[in-house]
Symmetry: C2
Subunit: 144 residues, 2 copies
DNA sequence: CATCAGACCGAACATAGTTCGGCAAAACTT
DNA sequence: AAGTTTTGCCGAACTATGTTCGGTCTGATG
């Protein structure tokens, strides 16, 4: 994981569709060597997969909210329960007063309410505190 | 934006590296027609870009925290101020007691503290409340 | 000093991306 | 309802890229 690897990851985050030749030129390598570097980055798990970035509003997920989930039990094994709710995009165990923080995307606030209802149905969940996002400044890749 | 488009976006989210031929077979189209569909999805902005999913811990961002930022002024024009802090991965204006919610990734809690210091330096910021993530259950693409 | 392992280059070969003419179905027009 | 236009698709040609491989160099190891 040297400077060249970091440069490769950075450029792939910006555009994973470019050719190995272009990528190689940018970092000072041949296409073949670049290919080999990227292959190893995938093998090591640094690069998990290549994906596309989708406009949420265009696919019926125009409402974004973060929900603090309070509980009266240990939630460490409840990952699957949260994963079963498709509108939940992220779920984290957190330090602090609540015990789980989830990121939810829905088409409407009515559907958001329905997600909250399903959250309450999870074992150990004693309360929720939803924060609705009014405007997103930006969402961007990791710094390098 | 019909069922085929949704199927294409779904499959591209899972693996943007597969061939148009494979993608076409999966949805019942030829490679050429698939190519044209995906081109239009990009043109319309439904697909914003193709990127790679990187393991944060592998690139020196093992600490994740969400920070509620309180303010005593209108923050609607301060997007650039938040964008100037590279460790901030997302920044949103929110409804509720705080006015901005940011997602921060750093290598250490010391660096997290330094980010908080830089947040305080932004015009109008009157306080912060950081929530450190202990474990991430999952982070996944949008539902379709 | 000799040997070994790792990384790179450049060229060959295989595969996929991209374009295009022709066709058919659907959507307007009159 | 018939004509006309538009849209979307197929399949094949053409172009570009991915992928592999032998040979070379460099730095590390013993």
């Amino acid at each position: 994981m040297d400077d060249i690897d970091r440069a490769l990851v950075l450029r792939l985050q910006q555009d994973a569709g470019q050719s190995y030749a272009a990528l190689g030129t940018a970092v000072g390598l041949s296409a073949g060597a670049t290919h080999e570097r990227v292959r190893k980055l995938r093998e090591r798990g640094v690069i998990r997969r290549t994906t596309v970035d989708v406009d949420p509003a265009a696919v019926g997920s125009g409402v974004l909210a973060y929900v603090m989930v309070d509980s009266n039990a240990w939630m460490g094994e409840s990952g699957d329960d949260f994963a079963a709710i498709p509108e939940i995009q992220e779920a984290h165990i957190i330090a602090g007063s609540a015990s789980v923080l989830v990121k939810v995307r829905t088409a409407s606030t009515e559907q958001l309410q329905d997600v909250l209802r399903r959250l309450y149905a999870i074992d150990g969940v004693s309360g929720t505190h939803a924060t609705v996002v009014l405007e997103t400044f930006f969402e961007r890749p990791l710094p390098l």
